[in-house]
């Protein structure tokens, strides 16, 4: 979406909301009631039946609003931090005679282990200093220990982050509760214990247990693991290209066990949008199927390594491209017209051979040097019938990925000399001045 698509709103508040990406698409601008297409937050489009955070906040009792702001705007809990906490079903505990806004109870949607927990949070608008109460939805057996909830015992309504911290503490106990439920299956308990022992995975794991397979009615569970892959060295340019707010770079591996004996296992890899783009899209990375009779402690490192290799390859490719461009700059000097100084993916040269001037466009692929750069020779004199400059693309020429940048530049120079006569003839023959 381009900048000029944005309606020139005179309302700074709505503009600010756009900047933070919190306004819902197709929401009317508050100042002039025009429909504005805005960026969805984190690449996720709001569903038509859910409340945007700002609308929800406007209905909350004013005394409780700061607590909810913290949850809605900064509320990233769990491994899937790209998904925000969401509130719905706002209701009031006051009589209908009390004028609004006075909503003081709502449902909080929390992403967890691939599921969405729906917890009821109950405040009292007439006593906003009191801590809330919770109803844990379908998890009626979840009974957290109050003594392990410090933000509940020392509740301070004056601290806006108090509710968010309390929710995180509850989630920690919820995680323990779900792990306890794995005891129904010794096989799955083994999977959990083995992962727990590994510090790479044990601390970044969410488990949702006790699912019933809709077909067989068997006990099932889902493991969500955050893969310890270092994405920090991915060049910044790869991330900037996304049209979306990048958020945190994370790779999550979800493994669903549809039966207690682990005979039906379905893995899935989730990448944050920036990483997905950096690696070349969703089709660029395929993880292997879960081996029959295998276990997570063997499979997860395998996937991790695959992803790491891919990332390393991408990083190396960046450096290799930079080296290539540097070498060409060195060899061709003033012949370089322009080059991509951020991603080092393009280079354009203006060369002359026997008074014949021509352009050479070099396109370096994502998986350079494994993939060969594309050379596009372009005449500056001749046009094709469609009005474009006459050009020829060369994808196969002497090349080896093992050459360093200097060698590639030298070899390219040699190739130019050998190919240009042929190109010139073609330009004269097929192009027109």
């Amino acid at each position: 979406m381009k900048e000029e698509d944005l309606h020139q709103s005179k309302d700074p508040a709505s503009l600010q909301l756009w900047m933070t990406g919190l306004m819902r698409p197709e929401m009317s601008c508050t100042s002039c009631q025009d429909n504005v297409l805005l960026r969805p937050l984190h690449g996720r489009v709001w569903k038509m039946n859910s409340l945007s955070p700002e609308v929800a906040l406007s209905r909350i009792s004013p005394e409780l609003r700061p607590l909810l702001c913290s949850v809605v705007r900064n509320g990233r809990v769990g491994l899937d931090s790209s998904s925000c906490l969401r509130i719905t079903d706002l209701k009031s505990g006051c009589t209908s005679l009390v004028p609004g806004p006075c909503c003081d109870r709502f449902k909080l949607h929390i992403p967890y282990a691939g599921e969405t927990l729906k917890w009821d949070i109950i405040f009292n608008a007439k006593d906003p200093e009191l801590p809330p109460d919770f109803i844990f939805g379908e998890d009626a057996d979840f009974q957290p220990e109050p003594s392990e909830l410090p933000h509940l015992a020392s509740w301070d309504a004056g601290k806006p982050e108090c509710l968010l911290q309390l929710v995180k503490e509850l989630l920690q106990q919820y995680h323990q509760y779900q792990c306890q439920r794995l005891r129904d299956s010794s096989r799955l308990l083994f999977e959990y214990d083995s992962l727990l022992e590994d510090p790479n995975y044990g601390r970044s794991m969410e488990i949702y247990a006790g699912l019933k397979n809709s077909w067989t009615g068997e006990f099932s569970a889902r493991f969500l693991l955050k893969l310890p892959v270092d994405f920090s060295n991915i060049p910044i340019y790869l991330l900037k290209d996304t049209a979306l707010d990048p958020g945190e770079d994370v790779a999550l591996l979800s493994v669903s066990f549809e039966d207690a004996e682990a005979t039906q296992v379905f893995p899935k890899l989730y990448l944050s949008p920036s990483i997905e783009h950096a690696l070349g899209g969703s089709s660029a990375l395929h993880i292997p199927a879960f081996p029959s009779g295998g276990c997570l402690i063997d499979y997860v490192p395998q996937v991790c390594q695959l992803l790491t290799n891919k990332v390393q390859y991408v990083i190396q490719g960046y450096h290799k491209r930079r080296e290539y461009i540097a070498a060409f700059l060195s060899h061709f000097g003033m012949g370089v017209v322009e080059y991509d100084a951020v991603g080092f993916t393009k280079l354009t040269l203006l060369l002359m051979w026997k008074d014949f001037c021509f352009l050479v466009h070099v396109d370096l692929p994502l998986y350079f040097p494994r993939d060969q750069p594309t050379l596009t020779f372009q005449s500056i004199y001749h046009f094709t019938s469609s009005g474009q400059l006459y050009s020829q693309v060369q994808k196969s020429y002497p090349y080896s990925p093992r050459w360093d940048g200097n060698e590639m530049a030298k070899r390219a120079k040699a190739y130019f000399k050998s190919f240009i006569p042929q190109f010139q003839e073609g330009a004269f023959a097929n192009g027109k001045l």
Binding site: C94, T95, I122, D127, D133, F134, I135, A140, S154
Partner: protein, 431 residues
Amino acid sequence: MGRLVYSACAKDCGLGAYVSIMAASISGYTFSSVCYHSANSNSDHEGFLLGEVRQEETLSISDSHIGSSEFLNVIEVHNHEPCTQLFSFYDYAGNINEENLNRILKDRRKNVIGWYRFRRNTQQQMSFREQVIHKQLTHILGIPDLVFLLFSFISTANSSTHALEYVLFRPNRNKYNQRISLSIPNLGNTSQQEYKVSSVPNTSKNYASVIKEHGTEFFDKDGVMKDIRAIFQVYSALQERVQAVCCEVDQSERVKEKIQEEVNKLKKEIALRKRNSAEEERRLQEAAVVMLPDNSALPDSSHSSLTQVMLSGPSVEPSLERPVNSSSPPIYSTTLPPDSPSAILLPRPQAVGSPGHPSPSLGLGNGDGSSSDSLNRQATGQEDQEDDEDSSEYENLVSEQLQPPSLTETVLLGRPATLWPDGDAHSPPGS
């Protein structure tokens, strides 16, 4: 009282089984009082339920079991104690302060059977803090069957419809979703049901003092209303009289029955004597006509004379001689044959001229001079000697047309078979 939907435990002891069931009841005024307090609060509201738990045992015997016992635990809510504000007896973490609890309950602590909470627009499910508090209350108050009554007030978005929902929970062993049905007597269509008196005792002190002061006018020393005793005495007296009357009626009925039997008996005698005297009279007349033509002193009103019958006295053989110049009608003493069925053995009179059969006797005898046989003949109409038809027609005709009306009953009861002159006994037709 609503019966239960929750069965606490059932055991098979081999010989029988016992089931423990729980039910709950709350009086209408207590329920409305709780609702009133709750609905008037601008936030969530809570308090305690006061009452008692009764246990009833029902022993039933059926063909399948030797015996089974059913224990019904009835939780009765008599009253409630609202809390003035939230967190009045517990802190933010849900830890109960027993001192505050006692200050709220005072001397009614022993009457606590549960507690309640009112919250608008929330699910009918115990919340996290409610579970924490309930667990502690169960322990502190020492009530293992502590119940929790949850009120939810659900309103539509435009506030046009409001629904008050209530659920009674009876948590057990960390299971906080077990519910008990709560009944409210007389909350319903009383036009279809009988108005029930609540078993909830009246705990009002004023009421108790008034009853104590004026009670002696209505109640005796045993606490039973005096009127009831008086009515019961009247009832007993009436019962006795009725019993006595029954006996008298029984006796009188028996006497009446005996008298009736005698009357019937005598009627039969009368009828027989009438018939016999009529026959005698007729024979005498005929004999007089044949033998003595000038002797026409026939007794007049023979018919009427024949009707005079002596009801008592020994049987007398009828005289063969006709009375001469007799102004008083002859008195015949009739005697019923000692054995009526003996008439069965009498020879059946035959029609005149019927071949193979002895001629019917014209007189009272049957030809051999005996006269007693004629008296013993049953009035089956078979003595009609003027019929010249054959024997079967004669028998039928006589039997159907000429039988005396007074002896009809006897005929219908069973016409005995008559003995043919040939010695065979034949049943009359139609018997």
